[in-house]
């Protein structure tokens, strides 16, 4: 490499009290490259991004920008130095409309609009208040806002984690072009397919330390995994599906039966069954009604029509407690929605125990402890910072949201994208766990935005498009291209190239296919 790095950070360290989030991290990014930053949950990726962009200050370390030492003390300073982040959490001001958000950051409006369109959202109303915009779109807006000021270094922290495949593709495409135009991108993702489709090099963090920088070439995944996880090497294909496959003499009465369910205008007609001992995958693009489906099953919103039956009995939920009583527990994809961040891991896991009025009395501490500890062990939650959940890394927080219902021994889990932002190792554990849960005769409804997961955990696939179930088929037929086509509402068997994810070697142009999504029907 003859070019000098655009950004060069060495020896970066950051302590939170006794927890060392970063110990000795280094990162060097060349002009024109898309540089992956990888690491297991809690490795310190987000922390490094925050330090580089002035959102927090480091305890030690040296940061050079174009060879000059810079002391970046605030996001505004980072912006002046040409560093623009898209953080793991959306950063628009919730109560301001999009336009005001742009004015606030001094972002030019027209380029922003152009980028938004390019990123697959053709009809954005910039007068809309950020609070009313769905999460996935917010993420895209964050990115468009960063792109509009043409930064030298763009830092994307799990940009694609909350995105449906269609939007994710657009993002990848745009990011790749950034690299082509001589700028640099630091790209954080837990999805290898994205990394290999996009990145030139990867820096791997483990426990707050940079443990290696590798070039992305075919077959490098195994090496990265090894670096990320240290000596621990996991088999990437451990799906315990085979066991459940055999034990599936469909029972006469399904555990959960959904009939012609309707919610507002978003969910029009959904019917399916969920049997005991089964993991059913739900697949949909962003905004096809899956949020409403899960919310209705969880008792968060009231359906406007149709019926839900549990164990053959018709049920009406007016509050999540009703669903929980019927044995349905909802694990939201957004952990901030599920966790009391200032409370301990234990209290978070034990929360459902105290929910009902009759359990408001004294707590049986020992019993509770046993249940909580066993759940923590089953999910291998890193409890170094268990005093407050907010001090855990994102992935570990995610595990706590599931552990709660494992401890409560719930019969049916409604998991909404539970592996969002989770490292490969943990993902394997969660897959295993879900299979195990099903193996014990329980059932899982599993929505995922990562299509490859479907094959690993599910027995059946339910495809939702435009608020309707468009297809239900066994997992054997569910390879990624098939799923993708189904998710776009195309009939099974039709052939069309869809997106760079379907074929990593296709050129970006092909993905501008006529049935480009984005608008909800």
């Amino acid at each position: 490499m003859t070019t000098s790095p655009l950004l060069d950070a060495t020896g970066v360290a950051k302590n939170y009290g006794a927890v060392a989030a970063l110990r000795n991290a280094s990162l060097s990014v060349l002009p024109g490259e898309v540089h992956a930053l990888m690491g297991a949950n809690g490795a310190g990726k987000s922390t490094l991004v925050k330090i580089l962009t002035g959102a927090i200050s480091a305890n030690a370390g040296r940061i050079l920008i174009r060879g000059e030492a810079r002391d970046i003390r605030s996001p505004a300073a980072a912006r002046r130095a040409g560093l623009l982040p898209v953080y793991q959490e959306p950063s628009l001001i919730p109560d301001l409309d999009v336009l005001s958000n742009l004015r606030l950051t001094g972002t030019p409006v027209e380029p922003f609009r152009a980028w938004v369109r390019e990123l697959g959202i053709p009809d954005l109303d910039i007068r809309e208040t950020a609070r009313d915009i769905p999460l996935a779109v917010l993420r895209v807006l964050d990115l468009a806002r960063a792109l509009a000021v043409e930064p030298d270094v763009l830092l994307l922290d799990e940009m694609t984690a909350a995105l449906p495949a269609n939007l994710a593709e657009k993002v990848l495409e745009v990011v790749r072009r950034q690299g082509d135009s001589g700028r640099a991108v630091i790209f954080i993702s837990h999805r290898f397919v994205e990394i290999s489709a996009l990145c030139d090099r990867a820096t791997v963090l483990r426990d707050g330390e940079t443990v290696g920088v590798v070039d992305i070439v075919p077959g490098v995944e195994e090496k990265i995994v090894e670096l990320m996880l240290g000596t621990r090497i996991v088999k990437t294909h451990v799906a315990a599906r085979s066991a459940a496959q055999k034990a599936a003499p469909a029972p006469a009465r399904p555990r959960l039966a959904v009939r012609n369910l309707r919610v507002g205008t978003k969910l029009n007609d959904v019917s399916f069954d969920l049997a005991d001992g089964e993991v059913a995958g739900a697949v949909a693009l962003e905004g096809q009604g899956q949020d409403e489906l899960f919310a209705a099953l969880a008792g968060s919103i009231r359906p406007s029509g149709g019926a839900i039956e549990v164990d053959g009995q018709p049920v009406k939920f007016s509050h999540p407690i009703d669903a929980i009583r019927a044995g349905l527990a909802y694990v939201p994809g957004d952990r901030a929605e599920a966790l009391a961040m200032q409370r301990s891991v234990r209290e978070n896991i034990a929360l459902p125990f105290s929910a009902a009025l009759r359990n408001w009395g004294p707590i049986a501490m020992r019993q509770e402890r046993a249940k909580v500890v066993s759940a923590i062990e089953r999910l291998q939650i890193d409890t170094r910072a268990q005093g407050e959940v907010q001090r855990l890394s994102g992935g570990n927080q995610q595990k706590v949201t599931i552990a709660r219902w494992i401890a409560a021994d719930t019969r049916t889990l409604l998991c909404f994208d539970p592996t969002r932002g989770i490292d490969v190792g943990t993902k394997q554990e969660i897959y295993k766990l879900l299979r195990e849960v099903a193996g014990h005769g329980k059932s899982v409804l599993f929505y995922t935005s990562e299509l490859e997961e479907v094959q690993r955990v599910c027995d059946r696939v339910i495809v939702i498009f435009g608020g309707r179930v468009v297809d239900i088929f066994p997992v054997e037929e569910a390879d990624e291209p098939t799923l993708m086509r189904a998710a776009y509402g195309l009939p099974r068997g039709a052939k069309a190239d869809i997106g760079i994810l379907a074929d990593p070697h296709s050129s970006p142009e092909t993905s501008n296919s006529p049935n480009s999504p984005g608008a909800t029907p």
Binding site: N15, Y16, G17, A18, V19, A20, R23, D207, G208, A298, S300, H319, P320, I321, I324, R325, Y330, P332, A336, E337, A338, L339, A340, M341, Q342, R343, E347, A350, L351, P352, F353, S354, A355, A356, L357, N359, W360, G361, P362, I363, M365, R384, R404
Partner: protein
């Protein structure tokens, strides 16, 4: 694995961390410092009688601050406690003239329960901001009390002996009020740390949506909370009337802002989810001692208020500095 335990930690940091893990210790130290200053300013003041007196006056404040602590844990605040305490005190003192004390007691607690219920429903069901809700009910309560006062002008008032004994009496130099307070405080501390209800208070204050998804019915928790808070305030009123022995229509109002201050000084977060009652009790003691300290300083009223404000600010800031060091 990644704890920084290898290199020796300087003593100052260790001390800080030690105190940060035990937030009560700096508070107690602060209390002691105040008492020492008092003793230096007026040698001999700190004696048994003074201590008993301080405790007597700190107890009503501490109970009201308990109401604030619990409501603040859920991200709320209860500004109606002053009115509720005043109402129950006034009703007790006027009803006991013609009624059996037990009946008078029930009558006195009725508005407390009612206001608590209204607060709870307003905040829990209609989602009115607690500040506004409790302010509103406190205005309504005050108005009702004044209308009520008209009807009892003729009958006069009387302080039941039990209350006077409880409020002012000493047994072997120990205030009788402790007989009420110690079990009450123990109950609050236990409730907060070891019961499902206590857990829910913290959790609801931290993230209400999360508790909802876990099956918690917000309105139940909030309604129960505000009723409990109001009942505690009512009990405080009875205790306080025993101490002051002069029913007035604004008896406990001056305790409201200090009760908020006591809870905050004691380390309870006004934004919810964090805090506890033991700190609050010490906070109440600190404020009471501070008041005495300022009474003793011979300076104009204005200067005294300035000093009070500055000290409250300083204490809270110093305490936060110590505890929030991470």
């Amino acid at each position: 694995m990644s704890t920084t335990a290898i290199q020796p930690v300087p003593f100052g940091r260790r001390l800080k961390r030690f105190m940060a893990d035990r937030p009560l210790i700096p508070l107690i130290i602060l209390l002691v410092i105040l008492v020492v200053i008092l003793q230096i300013l007026r040698p001999g003041i700190v004696n048994e009688r003074w201590i008993a007196n301080t405790i007597k006056f700190a107890i009503p404040l501490a109970i009201l601050a308990g109401c604030q602590t619990m409501t603040m844990l859920t991200g709320g605040i209860d500004l109606s406690v002053g009115t509720v305490a005043t109402m129950s005190a006034f009703i007790m003192a006027t009803q006991v003239v013609n009624q059996d004390p037990a009946v008078a007691f029930l009558l006195a607690m009725m508005p407390a329960v009612l206001i608590g219920l209204v607060n709870g429903i307003g905040v829990g069901v209609f989602r009115v901001h607690p500040l506004i809700m409790t302010l509103g009910t406190s205005l309504i309560g005050t108005g009702c009390l004044q209308v009520y006062q008209r009807t009892v002008i003729a009958s006069g008032a009387k302080i039941p002996d039990v209350l006077a004994w409880l409020g002012t009496g000493l047994t072997y130099g120990v205030p009788n009020a402790l007989l009420l307070f110690v079990p009450l405080a123990a109950l609050i501390v236990f409730t907060l740390s070891r019961t499902g209800f206590g857990r829910l208070l913290y959790a609801v204050g931290d993230n209400e949506r999360a508790t909802r998804l876990s099956g918690v019915q917000y309105w139940q928790v909030i309604t129960a909370l505000y009723v409990i808070s109001s009942v505690l305030a009512g009990i405080t009123g009875l205790l306080y009337i025993g101490l002051i022995k002069a029913p007035s229509l604004s008896l406990a109002e001056p305790l409201v802002l200090p009760s908020v201050a006591a809870a905050v000084i004691g380390g309870t977060s006004i934004f919810g989810g964090r805090g506890g009652y033991t700190g609050t009790i010490i906070g109440a003691l600190i404020l009471t001692v501070l008041t005495t300290l300022l009474t003793i300083l011979q300076m104009p009223e204005g200067a005294r208020r300035i000093l009070f404000g500055l000290i409250v600010l300083f204490v809270t800031a110093a305490y936060l500095r110590i505890v929030e060091e991470r």
